[in-house]
Amino acid sequence: MRPIDVIEGKVSVLDRADVDTDQIIPKQFLKRVERTGFGEFLFYDWIRSGEIELEPNPILVVGRNFGCGSSREHAPWALEDFGFEAIVAPSFADIFYVNCTKVGLLPVILDAEHCRAVAEAGEARIDIDDETVTCAAGVFEFEVEPGVKHRLLNGLDEIGITLESVAAIDAFEQSGGADRGPVTTAL
């Protein structure tokens, strides 16, 4: 994952609530075993039917509960591959939010009024370190967890970070807590 600190540029808008991951990337494209190349299938049915139009700008502003439904990480892969670097919404579905942070696609939560202001401004600058979104309408603060922020700013591999705690994992396993579960290889 590449480090990200500032995301700046034009804003695309999809003013819909409860957009589910089945719309972001329909199921027929989940059969691929690669991690790349999903961008051309983003919002496949909605774009193909002419129902929506989207420019691949750095920032996308969307409605509440964005990314609900399936846990498919193919959704953030498709958004990122299409060209978006940050998604701004009043709220996100939990799994989608987490998946975005793993991919280096920045999810930004602003209240609905500020989301509208960013959409109307048409351009914005998002500073991860400062946790601010700046646009013609003003400067809006958002929150990003310290661990996630550290990882995004430095482009760090989360597995690598966890493996630094391998002694703690070993100790946990040896404490007996992990021994009680079923042994799948013995079935």
Partner: protein, 461 residues
Amino acid sequence: MPRTMFDKLWEAHEVSGGLLYIDLHLVHEVTSPQAFDGLRLAGRGVRRPDKTIATADHNVPTDGTKATRLIADRLSRIQVETLERNCEEFGIPVYSLGSDRQGIVHVIGPELGVTQPGMTIVCGDSHTSTHGAFGALAFGIGTSEVEHVLATQCLVQKRPKTMRISYAGELGAGVTPKDLILATIGRLGTGGMVGHAVEYAGSAVESLSMPGRMTVCNMTIEAGGRAGMIAPDETTFEWVRGRAAAPADFDAAVERWRRLPTEPGAGFDTEVEVDAASLSPMVTWGTTPGMVVEVTDSVPDPAAIESPADRESAERALAYMALEPGTPIVDLTLDCVFIGSCANSRVEDLREAAAVLDGRRVAGSVRGMVVPGSQKVKATAEAEGLDEVFRAAGFEWREAGCSMCLGMNPDILAEGERCASTSNRNFEGRQGKGGRTHLVSPRMAAAAAIEGHFVDIRDWS
């Protein structure tokens, strides 16, 4: 201080602040190939293959295809073959096409007994919340997290808030766990549980069987909940007893499990109360599971919705579903009835549908499909003669898999077809591009198949 069941599960698995140990990792073909690739690229192995188990479900045809190499769709075949190869390389047990243990990942876990109270369970699938029915902390994850668990057997997690939904009284005749959870999602909204681990409690939940509890927990994610859970009790212990992976010292395990339930006086961030006795059979009318009404109601009028965002969503949903406001739900005619999915494909679900269908025929215009959740469910149902009941009623009796729940396999709706489905999602195009899905219980689906339109199961005979 009194603790909730969630508090106990979380604290028992915290390796260090925010790092959670995972007791069981369920793997399937769709969300895992890129995770295994990631391991190979970084030169990492699977830390605990003995806490990992895999099956093929999303992609598999349900037409009787006997082996992976015979799957007609090339991409599906490659994906299932990739799963088999990855599992072999990393020493993970896999029940793929052709195994008598193959099935929907959330059906086979409880069936084998690898799903047990007190565990942390994850899977690259949002319906992992199903396993919370056993008093486990179970939730869906993305592919990066799948890779993380494979490599470390741990996950970095933000501690969610807690919510308890208490159901007083008992469900009425003809009202099922599916109706209970659909009504709850309708009340809270599709984002109503976001950020929360949800405990379902109260007399109506305590009375439910394990399959019923699994149906309830399964759909937690449809209201955005991080995890759904139900306190383990005698019903839970009896389900696990005697299964392939049941603990050797079962009594000692039960003693531990009895200490899991939420203690009196423990606090939740949010408490919700529902009068279970007032609930009715439910039918979704729109394109999210929260767009749901009682079967005796009519299609709602968006003009009556106050919030502009909700009104626009409702208008779009009605246009997609080709429905007019004010149309009674019982007047909606159907092209297809699908009984299956990780929400409702267990033997008990099939028994309920078969009891409605016994000695009757589906309406001429309706295509009826039954897809058992696993090979084991299929074999059990056949031993009971349920397959004969379904066939005699004009239903197709198929092989185990996710099937028409998500249409990643040949089982899909044609454009414009209207389907009564026992699955958990009615999103646009979910069951096939242009397909129109109405979510219902197995009993409601079976009765609708016979009449060719929805009926109120309570006064239908």
